[in-house]
Subunit: 437 residues, 4 copies
């Protein structure tokens, strides 16, 4: 897999291929929302969470605002107030509804949001189908960006509905049926892979040019640039629930010396005793999943831990977290496959160990890195509203890598930089250990 | 209208009459909920507000808990978790769902709450129909209490949905059609009625005995007792929007000397410039109503003011608020009629002035009194969970009297004591002036 | 003791008597501050507390502002910024330093505040000594008001320094020597006195006229007016620590049914387990006093309880709190004597029981009444800044009566109305029970 | 200046030299406290600020705890409670007084803290003077660490007292006399220096070994390691007030596109319009200094800006902030001299431009870098309480470099890593621009 070295593009994707990608991503959103009632879609259980209905409308507003309005002559907005309601954080696009109040909006209804989606879908497909090559070359990057944007929100929809259902004392399940999980004969947790240091290229330049759906990168993944690494080791497997239970049993949550100072303050203030969504029933650990409350599987990767917990665990284990450069240097040589959303598991599953290769590097859980989310050397945010996408968040957050069991596989790549505040736990975040060689 | 002097009851109401009252009150709740979608019914726009669905279920839980469980042998609860979800504040009945989290519960759905209501209704009607006189005598007070409790929540449903819709930037209307309002030829605002002082009986003793639906009083209305009043005057009319606009124009919201200290702090902290729900558009005052945004009618009684605003207005006007004893001494001689919920206006309307009689003493707006909500002499809260109904709130609140345009007429009487914290504004609260004679 | 019936005054007090009262009150303030270092005088341990230095300056500013500036031609302020720093809450007198920031002011120093006091004292004495009768008649009410104001702050100084020292982990003592306390042979706690009901006059009209130092009342004590009381009983003694320990032992702090709802919320939020300043050491209750940590004396009146605790205790004991009218009807016939600040005890002491008379009605502890602090019938706040003294606080607070062990005796009278929010505990507040006869 | 390559140490410093350094640092602390009254020393104007008296005692506690107690047989603590009061954040050393309550402690007095200092000083000097070589080798690293620790608190004392005095409406001056400042003929603000990229060593290994006072580094400065830099440019001069005024005038504080999202939220919430301590009087900018309120000097480096402001300014100027590696690569070749605390200026002064060399790289203002404060590769926190010194703060903060006008010169070196949260402004923080070459 090569990145960004050839950013020259001769001609746009055929309109048909773009339409297909568009229809596929858009219909997957509706597929994910299908198990939810109108009432489920209106709840905002904490400020970080958005109602499902809002996600469905916001990604639609993105296409309407950045593609349809500028490129369809005489385009009529579906509703004049939707720009106010469904703009997320694009300050340059005018006033927005306050984020913590997204859950106060019973109307438009989920059904009307569905109609809004259909209206925009029809206009989009007509635009793409009728476009000549020049227009197609202009809109393709925006469409592709919009589709990746929608894929991000697909993951957020699942993260958010999990939190919504956990906030309900009845603990309803998002899906009732639990698909069978293939469990490996043996889970090998203490194996390590060793990598030589040196000078390596990381990142991607695709984000700065035009792109096809399958050849996309965000601006924050570039510029591709050289890094200097020492020799290091990376754990073959992510940290499992069994590993993490040992940390809990050893007093990990009661030992301040293991914790960063800010993390200890947060853990005390919120009385952390275990990962988010865990609770003890009759001495047994259970956790909330998208299939309802389930016993914690000791062989599965631990999930819903904050950076603070990941760092404390790593220190307790005598190791450390990998930097994002170390992670990418390894991941660039590994195929992007694993337990993604299409598996239907919707939770991390025990990974199959392989000889001489990292297991579950992609999928299952986002892996916390030791790297703060900062711009790569030479990074410049693009001009205009699209420039607000990533750059302005480059402070106070930590990079996560690899995607999770709620991520669409086609959304993932080795250079992908996800980012969360170190105290956050509602994303599907886990741990992979590293060490100096 | 006489109060409490004859509390002896020979025999219970005929079961049929009780069933009729039950069916009437219960169906009115559903009538009020009918314009609302399932999504409308799940929103909690501030901690004081409860979702409409919660109201519909909570009043049902009341009958299930206090009537069906103790009196129907082998009664099976509709759902084992509903007692947790729909108990409001009865500490003695076990754990409750935290009040500010009522808006996080998408399930049970509004439809399932409807099924719950039907289940309980059927059991209630069967119980009442089959009851012998002894059982009827036992359950009648509980049924009647439950019906008055449900009427209180009918008013809360309207107060709350108004706040919910106001919290939505689209400002939807609860009902689209605005019924025509009969406007009097002339509104006379500066007339006063004079009353002699002396010793008067106020309050009601009904609450301490058994009762019929039409002869009910809450425990907090008793004991009936003697009070000593000086000569006083009472304004014929409630304060109108025109009066209140003069207060605003004269700098009422910018003159600390008019305000109680706590009120001034609150007004500054929340930047009060007008009653709740008011906003200026192009120099004109509009306000949110249950029929959507409407221009402020200068002839209608001012509404949605706090006690602090009422007190500041009265001081500005050179008068004062009446005590609850003064108010009741006048109201006891006035028929309980006015602009109640059944009129469909759902907002205060310009009252018709009458010679020598107070106008709109009942209905339109709850009238703030100068009286803190404290127990009457000799008051004792009843034993058991029902005893938590009123007594434990007798601190830090002020008494309001007379009912409003969202109150059921059969719920009102001259001894009725409503109570709110002095900063609260989402109830339909207005002002009537008093003065020493 | 007669009240307010003869408000006509023929001639002012002799200047000498006024000067004597002035010197006496002013020097007592400095006497109280004498044990405190400059550092002790700068601390504000919570927003309700003011630094001792601030009290000493604020009461001085009162004389400078209301007496010297208007009545001494060419008077030069001691410092142009002091009006900003030492105005407490007189909105009409211009901007003030924010109350919670009083503890941030190291300069002016305590010594400079002493110089400010001396400057004002000298000007005041000169003014009073040189005044002719007309001027004396004009300034006497202001001087007397200022002296009573200063006496209030003398009590606040002791309340506040107690809290300051309690906030210091070293728990220093305000005074080291503990004066011997005469202990009665027997403490009789369960005796009651019975009073007939009827129509009674309460309150004082002195506040509305001119006054001498010994014949003073605040505006909030008037107008004197008639009240209607039922027959009632009043406990001979205030509730003792032994009584209160029984309440604690019986689970008083864990029984929500005893508490007002707001009180229970507060008790839970702040984890109340005992009165303020109490702590358990090796199974024994100790409490902070102005003489440092001391064992709790079971025979002494309980102190530092909130209204919420007083009300819960009364309900637990099967009785109630007296109304302020009941309290005053009894107190008007009792001499104003007891354990006041001059005794040097600085804490409640076991009262001597007397036959057929209430013990410790004055002094020891302020007694919570069941009465919200509201204006008496016909009350009007005086015009101007002095009118901000009392009236604007007539909401959300409860009346306390009788004075405490930190109150100057000459400051107390049977009509005196003190007031605190029901959650407050740092004042010397205790309990006396009442019951219907 | 070489770093860490020769960490072998043959013999300790002569005791005399260590004693001299000890006396010098300790007496400088008292020199800095000398202008402050006892009352000045007790104030804590915000949680980040500590009272001066606390600083003086805390640094003394450090020597008592880490040197005297372990190494003086039979050493008697000065006061048994001081360990509780004056431990800052060493969790492993037991309970501590809560940080936000440091301002509540009037006792021990400033004078008693002085006696505590004298007691510890005497014991320290005796210990060092009497020590044989073995003991000296053991204690020297602790003494040296303690002295550098005290130097940090010397800077904090000045930062904190500035905030304390600014919180006083009278705005007192720490020192009255303003020393004359030599102003260069011409201030050249737009000059740049260009540096080639490549592989460079940064950091220091001294921190991991033993050390003399003049050869010290903290653990967080190591391990010394190789970094890879691109070609870059660095501004010759720090950003001046004139530059910053242009940013303000151009709407810098009103342009969200210039700001990181978290920074914009903070700026809005706290209504930032200019650096901390600035205020406009009659259209002219003044700012609080340690010499009281002064007009802003356009030629001096801007100071008291947060990272957020620094980043917004850099983006507005079309450049960026340097990384800490770039900064150190330049600074390692520059002598450590500049406007440090000993100059007495106590504020940034207009720097003299030099040809081909960076001006004011050391002293004047700490320079924000673009680097989050994270561990260097291979960093391990030392074991024990000393290990809590730096490592546990390596999250959510940004690195600042170079020292300021309140820093002791002997405390500074090119590898020194200071760190603050990006919103903090009370430290003497400024801006130097960088750019890609």
């Amino acid at each position: 897999m090569t990145h960004g070295t050839e950013s020259t593009r001769v001609h746009p994707a055929p309109a048909g291929a773009l339409c297909d990608a568009f229809r596929q991503v858009r219909s997957w959103t509706e597929h994910l929302a299908a198990p939810l009632s109108a009432e489920d879609q209106v709840i905002q259980s904490m400020p970080d969470v958005s109602p499902c209905k809002w996600h469905r409308a916001h990604v639609t507003w993105f296409f309407e605002t950045f593609v349809l309005k500028p490129h369809v002559p005489g385009y009529r907005e579906y509703h004049p107030d939707f720009a106010f309601l469904f703009n997320s954080y694009y300050v340059s696009l005018g006033d927005r509804h306050r984020r913590p109040e997204r859950g106060l909006v019973s109307r438009p209804s989920a059904a009307e949001v569905g109609a809004y989606r259909a209206w925009v879908d029809e206009a989009m497909v007509r635009l793409m189908s009728d476009a000549d090559d020049a227009l197609l070359a202009t809109i393709e990057p925006l469409v592709v960006l919009g589709l990746h944007h929608e894929q991000q929100h697909q993951e957020l929809m699942l993260m958010d509905i999990k939190h919504v259902f956990w906030s309900n004392p009845l603990r309803p399940a998002y899906r009732d049926e639990t698909p069978p999980v293939a469990v490996p004969d043996e889970v090998q947790t203490e194996a390590w892979l060793t990598f030589d240091g040196g000078r390596f290229m990381i990142g991607s330049d695709i984000g700065s040019g035009s792109f096809r759906f399958g050849e996309f990168a965000y601006d924050n993944e570039g510029p591709r640039h050289e890094v200097l690494l020492g020799d290091f080791r990376l754990a073959t497997m992510p940290v499992t629930n069994a590993d993490y239970l040992a940390f809990i049993a050893d007093g990990g949550y009661r030992t301040p010396a293991l914790w960063l100072s800010d993390g200890w303050d947060r853990a005390c203030a919120e009385d952390w005793q275990a990962p988010l969504y865990w609770e003890q029933r009759d001495g047994q650990w259970w956790h909330m999943t998208l299939h309802g409350m389930q016993p914690v599987d000791p062989r599965a990767p631990v999930c819903h831990v904050s950076f603070y917990e990941a760092q404390a665990f790593a220190l307790w284990a005598g190791h450390r977290l990998p930097t994002e450069a170390e992670w990418e240097r390894v991941a660039a040589e590994v195929p992007v496959s694993g337990n993604f959303v299409a598996s239907g598991a919707l939770r991390p599953v025990p990974p199959a160990a392989e000889a001489d290769a990292p297991a579950a590097l992609f999928g299952d859980v986002w892996e916390w890195t030791a790297s703060p989310y900062t711009p790569y050397p030479g990074y410049r945010a693009p001009a205009g509203a699209v420039g607000e996408y990533n750059g302005k968040f480059m402070i106070n957050q930590m990079v996560m890598r690899g995607g999770a069991c709620v991520t669409p596989q086609s959304h993932m790549r080795s250079s992908y930089r996800n980012f969360f505040y170190p105290h956050m736990r509602w994303q599907f975040g886990g741990i992979r250990l590293a060490a100096d060689a």
